[in-house]
């Protein structure tokens, strides 16, 4: 039988160490909403989402109450809208009507984000894909809760450099369209390589076409719990360090598994996956960078950071895999700059640069995340950064992503406030040398070889 010390340990994690379930994300297929009439399509989408997700928020709140564990976000992901909308949308403007419908449906059911305003163009773009991509700046500026993502490459297909070039322009336009709010629109736009179909985390969540009609995916969190448990093994060797991370990850993930199964049972919707990510928030004590410091670095970004992050990421997976029946999504440690106080401190101290962040993304999920850069960089520079990150994902057979925020009107060293879970970020310098000729070549980077690994 459970004893008082075990009960106290769990409650201490929840009350003092920020253990929470970061998100219950309900994936909804919109494939059966497709219609060549735009108005009918919008009606179908609204109905499908509001019917399927009617009990989502209520169920999340019930689970919170029954177990006294915070379920921070209840969210929805849908089939990539480029697929759903192609038959009806003849212009980017047509796609914006779908974004408005998604926003309205999200507000109706009470979720804070809805993901899936997306296009999958890892090998090439259809006319419809291009319309959707070109509609992103407007769509993100006229909606509140819609999140967008574009998959521009994969290990199997290579990288669509036409899409990479276009996305550099789209990111800047999105920044321009939302410049009144520190270019906040860009915080809701992710560019992927090897995007997973079952990712519950925003802004990159969408409901892949390989998925069932509706599915519950859960993202756990708990950097604070890992940090606290590592404080108890200060100075011990790597074996002890790794064992401690594994055991803690196991416990955190088991809570996610319970919440996912309960949500699935109560809503009568199948359980998909648990995403084993350590997702930080700007709250003190809820930071991945602080774990790296606890492992022995003065700041995130110091020499040794990539190795420390690699072991952290791997041990989290090892501990989490056994705790859950199905693991998927992004599953790793997130290193967003603005959403992690330790990362912000490291940038402000001059310890962490864009180049070091890029190196770190080679060994963890998910990529260059929530990084503010000056708003006057050329689109080709953004495309170049995207191409670099996509290449890391393509060659290493992993998911990588880019969520950069070129802040219009702000210079290096100034601070941008996004508020809430999105936090704040210092504007970081970008290498000022050009890559225009590289980006404007056009075409694709071929798929990589799958043997002779070095």
């Amino acid at each position: 039988m459970i004893n008082i010390w075990e009960v106290n340990e769990t409650n201490k994690m929840i009350e003092q160490e920020n253990l929470d379930v970061r998100t219950i994300t309900l994936g909804i297929s919109l494939l059966d909403c497709i219609d060549s009439d735009l108005e009918q399509l919008n009606r179908n989408i609204y109905k499908k989402i509001t019917d399927t997700a009617a009990k989502l928020v209520e169920t999340g709140e019930e689970i919170e109450r029954d177990y006294c564990i915070p379920v921070v976000n209840k969210r929805i992901s849908v089939t990539p809208v480029a697929l759903v909308g192609q038959a009806a949308c003849k212009t980017p403007e047509d796609f914006v009507t779908i974004a408005r419908t998604l926003d309205r449906a999200a507000k109706e059911v009470g979720v804070n984000f809805i993901g899936g305003y997306s296009a999958l163009v890892s090998k090439g773009m259809t006319k419809g894909d291009e319309h959707l991509i070109r509609s992103i700046p407007k769509a993100l500026s006229v909606t509140e809760r819609v999140c967008s993502s574009v998959n521009v490459g994969s290990t199997k297909t290579g990288i669509d450099m036409d899409a990479v070039k276009l996305m550099g322009e789209i990111v800047l336009q999105t920044a321009e369209y939302t410049k009144e709010n520190d270019s906040l629109g860009c915080a809701k736009l992710v560019i992927f390589c090897n995007a997973p179909d079952d990712n519950p985390f925003m802004a990159g969540a969408f409901h892949g076409v390989t998925e069932a009609d509706a599915i519950i995916n859960v993202g756990v969190s708990g950097p604070g719990v890992v940090k606290k448990s590592l404080e108890r093994v200060r100075g011990e060797n790597f074996e002890t360090l790794c064992e401690t991370i594994k055991k803690t990850a196991f416990k955190i993930t088991r809570v996610g598994q319970l919440v996912a199964q309960e949500a699935s049972r109560r809503m009568g919707i199948p359980f998909g996956i648990i995403d084993l990510s350590l997702a930080p928030t700007p709250a003190v004590g809820d930071s991945v960078a602080e774990i790296l410091e606890e492992i022995g670095l003065e700041y995130a970004g110091a020499p040794g950071t990539t190795a420390a992050l690699a072991l952290l990421n791997d041990q989290v997976k090892k501990g989490g895999i056994m705790a859950s029946s199905y693991v998927g999504g992004l599953s790793g440690a997130f290193i967003p700059v603005s959403e992690d106080q330790g990362m912000i401190d490291a940038v402000e101290a001059g310890a962490l640069t864009l180049e070091k962040l890029e190196a770190m993304t080679c060994v963890c999920s998910v990529g260059l995340d929530m990084i503010a850069i000056p708003g006057d960089v050329p689109p080709s520079a953004i495309s170049g950064i995207i191409a670099d990150e996509m290449a890391i994902g393509m060659i290493n057979q992993k998911t990588t992503a880019v969520r950069l925020i070129p802040v219009i009107g702000k210079k290096i060293g100034e601070t941008v406030e996004f508020g809430g879970l999105l936090g704040h970020a210092p504007v970081m310098p970008v290498n000022r040398y050009g890559c225009e000729a590289f980006i404007s070549r056009g075409g694709r980077i071929p798929a990589p070889i799958h043997s002779f690994k070095n």
Binding site: M1, I2, I4, R65, Y67, C68, V255, L258
Partner: protein, 94 residues
């Protein structure tokens, strides 16, 4: 739902005073909640109690009992928390 899945853990934490257990147990008795196990210690001067209870015969739904127990706690000056047992079983048992 089977009987075991309906077991609830009640934790009571706060400054030690007269009548904490009496106060909590009176509420449980009045509402048809059966106590299966109690353990209690004092940690650094703080009263710390865990009860395993069976709410199958409870007169009120879980959410209401949890809220009312919280209010009972406020009156005594301790914090009372009601959680379904599975969260602890999941975390601490393979």
């Amino acid at each position: 739902m089977d009987k075991k899945a309906d077991r609830t853990i009640i934790t009571v934490v706060g400054k030690d005073t007269v009548g904490i257990i009496a106060g909590v147990c009176t509420y449980l008795a009045e509402n048809g909640i059966n106590v299966l196990d109690i353990s209690q210690t004092i940690v650094q001067g703080f009263f710390n109690m865990m009860m395993i209870v069976d709410m199958n015969g409870a007169a009120k739904p879980f959410g209401q009992c949890a809220k009312e127990l919280e209010q009972v706690g406020e009156k005594i000056g301790v914090s009372i928390k009601c959680q379904r047992e599975e969260i602890f079983n999941k975390m601490h048992r393979i």
